[in-house]
Symmetry: C2
Subunit: 253 residues, 2 copies
């Protein structure tokens, strides 16, 4: 019987810049009586990773550029300091709504506001995505593996909207220790039909599954996903970024 | 400690038109020694639902229209009979690639090939999405609840690609028994900041989580997701369809 378990990790406390997140998560698991096992995937919300990496910005220190001020007028008075940060964190603007801006970040992720968050960080402050979320995932994995002597996967999640469908889902912005895509192409179904377009974004499904226990307001910033049976592999979330040439919905300018 | 469990349901056997899917899933659970509980979400792959509803089509019986033949020439010789079925199942074409066609189905879902599948159905046959997946979910729920005297949720899943990100994730095309969106708007974070854009597509995350045990070739066409703690509600997957006026990536013609 195939069975998967997702265990919320609580009691991490408020994370500050420089905090050793890998160790803190391992210790929080121990306090819960949860022993990490080979093959467990440790999932962390981007917020705690960004906080531990000092990615919080005091909006009062941000001077909007002319482009940010122009965008603010266009986007219903959206905070020009936030827009300045969004522009700094982006390669290009993909789309604009009434007060919404969707960009491609320097990592290649397409999301609203370059993933910059104003919630759960304190008034007048903004929290940027990690500069290198795959690197963050690798560091957290190294530390957690060293302390527990297990072979782990790590996923760093963020909450993205989607075209065509309402509501957000959590996706993987950082991955370490396994391949984020499972490629079934070339395999055949029970009728002998060759599977042609079957590549599963397993890391994104793990991210969304973990959100089911992490939630948005429940103080559960991490989770363990157990039972995925993914082989150890030197994977990264960069593999999830669709190349421009292969993208029917590139948009933008 | 928040904990979620996902249990694969096997041994459903080959599903044929008219088979009572709700009863078959309940019986398969019993054979596995799994007793359904209040609050469990029963997840079923679209394929078994479509098969039980007689949505398989013999491609030899399909005569392509002029438009389907024209599209076939445009799309690298893609089977004009398949294109004919795609056009019949669609409201409009959203985008075309070299041999790819993305449409909006009559349900309002935006996906490749109108969700029509050639795998796991036998050579020369195609499998359409259920005509009314929310209705299918309600019927399966009614039957399973009647047999088990429990309050269940039901999700019917399909595998969709996404813009900007490689790989597919499973999403909900049919929902019964709970609200597919969790709306956090108006709630405040621990700092008192009001959450503004936080609506979570919990049904899609449940679909993706279930795929982690159902897989693509593993003969696990159903799963139980246990521990979501979703209140009983008369929800539907139609609530997940983003209204055109609210869509920055409508595309198409």
């Amino acid at each position: 019987m195939r069975r998967l378990e997702i265990i919320g990790v609580e009691g991490l406390g408020e994370i500050g810049s420089g905090d050793p997140l890998g160790r803190l998560v391992v210790e929080a698991c121990e306090r819960q009586g949860v022993t990490l096992r080979d093959g467990d995937v440790l999932v962390l919300a981007q917020k705690v990773v960004s906080k531990s990496e000092g990615r919080a910005v005091d909006l009062h220190t941000v001077t909007p550029s002319a482009e940010a001020s122009r965008l603010s007028a266009e986007l219903d008075g959206k905070d020009p300091r936030l827009l300045e940060l969004i522009l700094r964190e982006s390669r290009r603007i993909v789309a604009k709504g009434r007060s919404t801006i969707v960009v491609e970040t320097h990592h290649g992720f397409v999301c609203a506001n370059a993933g910059i968050d104003l919630s759960n960080i304190g008034t007048g402050r903004a929290l940027l995505l990690p500069a290198d979320p795959d690197g963050s995932a690798r560091r957290i994995r190294d530390e957690a593996q060293r302390l527990t002597a297990t072979a782990l996967g790590v996923v760093i999640t963020d909450t993205f909207g989607r075209p065509w469908r309402l509501g957000t889902t959590d996706v993987a912005i950082g991955v370490a220790g396994f391949a984020p895509l499972i490629d079934y192409r070339g395999q055949t179904d029970p009728y002998g039909y060759e599977l042609k377009a079957s590549v599963t974004a397993v890391a994104d499904q793990i991210a969304g599954a973990a959100e089911l226990v992490m939630g948005k307001t429940s103080h559960v910033p991490a989770a363990i996903v157990r039972g995925c049976e993914l082989p150890q592999h030197d994977g990264s979330a960069q593999e999830l970024v669709r190349p421009a040439a292969d993208d029917l919905f590139r948009g933008g300018r």
